[in-house]
C-alpha cells in the first residue's frame, strides 16, 4: 500500500464535508424520470455499452479539472461516490456520474438551477425541432 495515500485521504475527507446530500429538485426529477441508456439501448437494439454522450462527459470532467481547476478530479470523484450512495443511489452508471457532476457544479455556484433548466429547454428545442 502506498504511504502517500494518507495525504490523499485527508484531501478527500475535506471535500466530502462540503458537498452535502441535499436533493436538487431539477436533478432529482431527471434521475427519477429520465430514460437511462440501458433501457434505450435494449429498446432500439443497440449494443454499445456506453451512451454516446459518455466520452463528452469524461472530457468535461477532465477539462474542468485541468483547464480551469474549477472542479479538481479527486474532489469530484469523492463527491460522486457520496452522491451515488445518497441522492442518486437508484440511478445507474454513467447517468449518476452525470447527475453528480451537475450537482457538484451547482453546489459550487458555477451556474444555478434556473440557468441549467433554461439551457436544457433550449437544448431540447434545438435537438427535437430540427
Amino acid at each position: 500500500m502506498s504511504a502517500s495515500k494518507e495525504t490523499d485521504v485527508s484531501v478527500a475527507a475535506d471535500s466530502e464535508v462540503g458537498i452535502g446530500t441535499a436533493e436538487i429538485p431539477l436533478l432529482e426529477a431527471i434521475g427519477r424520470s429520465g430514460r437511462v441508456w440501458g433501457d434505450l439501448a435494449a429498446q432500439y437494439g443497440v449494443t454499445n455499452p456506453d451512451p454516446p454522450w459518455k466520452v463528452s462527459l469524461d472530457a468535461t470532467c477532465d477539462a474542468l479539472s485541468a483547464e480551469a481547476c474549477a472542479l479538481p478530479l479527486l474532489e469530484r470523484r469523492a463527491e460522486e461516490d457520496e452522491l451515488s450512495a445518497s441522492c442518486y443511489r437508484n440511478v445507474p452508471f454513467p447517468e449518476r456520474q452525470l447527475l453528480a457532476l451537475a450537482h457538484s457544479m451547482l453546489t459550487r455556484d458555477l451556474f444555478n438551477e434556473e440557468e441549467l433548466a433554461r439551457r436544457m429547454r433550449e437544448v431540447r428545442e434545438r435537438l427535437t425541432g430540427a
Binding site: S2, V55, S56, V123
Partner: protein, 233 residues
C-alpha cells in the same frame, strides 16, 4: 451503397440525460471554465486511449530482458517505446489529467501476483490503459480487494495457489501502476504482435492472467446447459 445495406440500429430518441450533458457543457463553456476547443481536445484524447500500449509494453518486456529491466526501473521512460509520453502527451502538456508524478510497472513472478486498486476513488493509468472498467470504480472492489484479495480474485475467476503471495497495490493521485504478468506457457516463439494480443486489460490490472488464444476480442464461450429444460412433456 448496395440495396442490401442495412443501417446499424440507433437510439432514435433524445433522453433527458443527453440534454443534461449538453447543457452542463455549454454552460461551462459560456462561463469561461474551458473553451469548446479544450473540450474537443479532451474528447479526442479520451477517444484514442486504450489498453494496447500497455499490452505492447508487456509483450516487449517478455521478449527483451533489458527492456523488462528498464520497464520495472522506470515505467515512464519505458512507456516512450510504446508511444506514450507521460510528460508531454496529454492535452494539457502538463502531466496526466490528475496530477501525474509516477508510473510503475509491477512484475509478477511465479510466487508473487500483483493486483491494482484505488481504494480512494478510481485512479487509473488511463494514458496507457484507457478508460477504467466500471467495476474498478465500485466501492465493492475498492474496499474488498484490500481485505480479501484471494477471494476477490477468485470472483474474477482467477484461482491462485495458496503459496502465491498477492500484493495489492493502491493507486493514488501521484502514482499509477500496471501489472507485468507472467508470460504464459505455450507462447514460445511468438512475435511481439501475437503476444500483445493476449495481454488484455484485465491482465494489466491484475485480475486475470494471459492465456494463449484468449484476447480482448475473443467471443464469449457458450456452454450447453448441464440440466437443460425439456419442453413438450
Amino acid at each position: 451503397m448496395s440495396d442490401t445495406h442495412k443501417a446499424a440500429p440507433m437510439v432514435d430518441e433524445v433522453s433527458d440525460f443527453e440534454i443534461l450533458e449538453m447543457a452542463v457543457r455549454e454552460l461551462a463553456i459560456e462561463k469561461g471554465l474551458f473553451s469548446a476547443e479544450d473540450h474537443r481536445r479532451w474528447i479526442e484524447y479520451v477517444h484514442t486511449l486504450g489498453p494496447l500500449p500497455a499490452a505492447r509494453l508487456a509483450a516487449k518486456a517478455w521478449l527483451d530482458p533489458d527492456f523488462k529491466k528498464l520497464a520495472v526501473a522506470d515505467g515512464v521512460k519505458a512507456s516512450l517505446a510504446v508511444g506514450i509520453d507521460w510528460i508531454n502527451g496529454p492535452p494539457t502538456k502538463f502531466g496526466t489529467p490528475s496530477d501525474y508524478c509516477s508510473f510503475r510497472v509491477l512484475e509478477d513472478t511465479p510466487k508473487v501476483k500483483h493486483v491494482v486498486v484505488c481504494t480512494l476513488c478510481s485512479c487509473y493509468p488511463r494514458t496507457i490503459l484507457g478508460q477504467s472498467p466500471e467495476w474498478y470504480r465500485t466501492p465493492n472492489y475498492r474496499r474488498r480487494l484490500v481485505r480479501w484479495p484471494r477471494q476477490v480474485l477468485a470472483e474474477f475467476g482467477l484461482q491462485l495457489a495458496a503459496d502465491v503471495e498477492i500484493r495489492v497495490v493502491d493507486s493514488n493521485q501521484k502514482t499509477r501502476y500496471m501489472v507485468l504478468p507472467l508470460r504464459p506457457i505455450g507462447t514460445e516463439g511468438w512475435s511481439e504482435q501475437q503476444l500483445t494480443e493476449i495481454v488484455t486489460r484485465d491482465c494489466l490490472i491484475g485480475v486475470a492472467m494471459p492465456q494463449p488464444g484468449v484476447t480482448s476480442n475473443a467471443k464469449r464461450p457458450v456452454h450447453p446447459a448441464v440440466h437443460p429444460i425439456h419442453t413438450g412433456h
